[in-house]
């Protein structure tokens, strides 16, 4: 019983962490705005703590950006307008899904290029392996060579 209670306490303590992290809540005039708020705050990166989006971060700058996001959504700004506003101030860096072009091209293209390179290497390896087996097989020898092989084997047997 005591063990059970301890386990319960530990579980509750683990669950309580994220609940504490939620510091402010915003009221939205329309539920549709709230959905966009969730989506945008997950897509925008916190400039201070670079491996978190602004939804997850407790840094003061992330709080400011969340407040700003809420304001702009309520004022009727479109998603594109909000993204452009953030990029104009913090650079392409604030987006977890940067637009294609310039320095970000490599981010978008690298996975595709690596996949193509991988497939190319795989195909080349498979092909060279299959040609090698046909060449090294008995079929790869000419009639003359087969004759020589037989005589060599015979001589070896006689010597033994």
């Amino acid at each position: 019983m005591r063990l059970l209670r301890l386990l319960l306490v530990i579980t509750l303590a683990l669950v309580a962490g994220p609940a504490l992290a939620l510091i402010e809540t915003y009221e939205f005039s329309k539920p549709e705005l709230e959905a966009r708020y969730q989506q945008l705050s997950e897509e925008l990166r916190c400039p201070k703590c670079q491996n978190q989006n602004i939804a997850d971060s407790n840094a003061p700058i992330a709080q400011d950006l969340r407040r700003l996001l809420h304001q702009q959504l309520e004022q009727g700004a479109s998603d594109a307008e909000i993204r452009n506003y953030m990029v104009a101030r913090y650079g392409e860096f604030v987006r977890y899904r940067p637009r294609f072009g310039g320095a970000t091209a490599i981010l978008w293209l690298a996975p595709v290029l690596l996949l193509i390179a991988g497939i190319a290497v795989l195909l080349l390896t498979l092909r060279s392996r299959s040609t090698r087996t046909t060449v090294s097989g008995a079929a790869g020898l000419s009639a003359q060579e087969q004759e020589r092989l037989r005589s060599l084997l015979e001589r070896a047997e006689q010597d033994a």
Binding site: P60, R89, Y90
Partner: protein, 180 residues
């Protein structure tokens, strides 16, 4: 590709990877270029700290200068403060943005520690900071004589940062603005 060359392929790949990763060690991922580089300061009108006047971006035009974002709650700002005073004594114009701070606390700080700033912009709500793309004090912007942002340094400005990064750029801007 010859079989001899193929043998060295893993070594070559390893060398390339090693060079890339080694370079990565020397880079500071938290340092990112400002989106404002080579663009004029965003327009603003904010009260001056301790004075009943409004300041705008036009008040910083005329000579190359440093624009320092600071606050009394910022520990690193206290660290760089003595060096900023040294720079001011050498005649380098420094403007301040008192970022998301309490006016009285900021005034007290300047009275106690000394004031290296030509003037301070009281950015109580952090609106100017937002337009500048400030993400944490201290930050220092290098402005040219036309008020265009030429460089942004995030973190403490000390002797090393000044000598190696800011001073060469500052001198370059100064000779350019003095020339015509």
């Amino acid at each position: 590709m010859g079989p001899r060359l193929k043998l060295f392929l893993p070594l070559i790949l390893f060398a390339l990877l090693a060079i890339t990763l080694f370079r990565g060690l020397g880079l500071d991922p938290s340092e990112m270029p400002s989106a404002l580089i080579d663009r004029p300061l965003p327009p603003f009108s904010l009260p001056a700290l301790g004075q009943a006047v409004a300041l705008t971006e036009a008040d910083m035009v005329g000579q190359p200068a440093l624009l320092n974002v600071w606050a009394t709650w910022c520990v690193s700002c206290r660290v760089e403060h003595p060096y900023l005073k040294q720079l001011a004594e050498q005649g380098i114009p420094i403007f301040g943005i008192n970022y998301k701070d309490d006016d009285a606390a900021a005034q007290h700080w300047l009275d106690e520690l000394g004031n290296p700033y030509r003037f301070n912009i009281a950015d109580r709500e952090g609106t100017l900071g937002l337009d500048l793309g400030v993400y944490g004090a201290p930050e220092t912007y290098l402005l040219d004589a036309e008020g265009v942002v030429r460089y942004r340094h995030v973190g403490v400005v000390d002797e090393k940062v000044w000598r190696t990064i800011l001073e060469p750029l500052y001198q370059q801007l100064k000779t350019r603005s003095d020339a015509p």
